[in-house]
Subunit: 126 residues, 2 copies
Amino acid sequence: MKANEHFYEVFSRGDVEAMDALWADAPHVTCLHPGMRLLAGRAAVMGSWESLLSRPPTLRLRCDHASVQLLGSVAVVTCYEGGGAEPAHLAATNVFVKDGEHWRMVHHHAGPLTHPVPRQDLASLN
Amino acid sequence: MKANEHFYEVFSRGDVEAMDALWADAPHVTCLHPGMRLLAGRAAVMGSWESLLSRPPTLRLRCDHASVQLLGSVAVVTCYEGGGAEPAHLAATNVFVKDGEHWRMVHHHAGPLTHPVPRQDLASLN
């Protein structure tokens, strides 16, 4: 799904403005960064991205094995997140809502995998 | 949200049949248990609940600080999960879809909190 790929491109570029644009313009968006407490509301969520993305070095984050549940105008995407060529160390849930032509993020949740998933394992996953 | 509370009641009762009934009758439901790889498809997801819930002792799991994003016929619920009276040690995303009169679960994602959230902290959370 393009909107989900776009999220990881934007993260990897450290582009705060594009990150702001890809989140829905809705008051009650939510975000659970790995291990952290809930961020609720656009100001809290965007503040966290500004703080994460504006400090170097930029982390190239990729999304492996993306899987989409399409629920009308809502899409629930799951994937594994990994930095560079390292085994993926996080599992993520990304929720998007269709807004005209665009899918915009309304929720992001990433949490640690007990056993990181090497890229060569992907072919064998269900 | 009642459907979300029901999920934690059913978990705490170790009721596999009720757990099956509260998940959507859809092929592509998904589940990320803490630290684990993605389970995709009804058979894989229900197999995990059967295995988790059918072995004693039953864990009383509560849901603190539930927050709902209502997106038409889809609800995205976030909350903290804790066992008994212990500080909550997991953060969760639960996604439900409206099916007639009922909300049914289509995705569950729980991951560890770096710093567990004591119940007495809840009043001060945003």
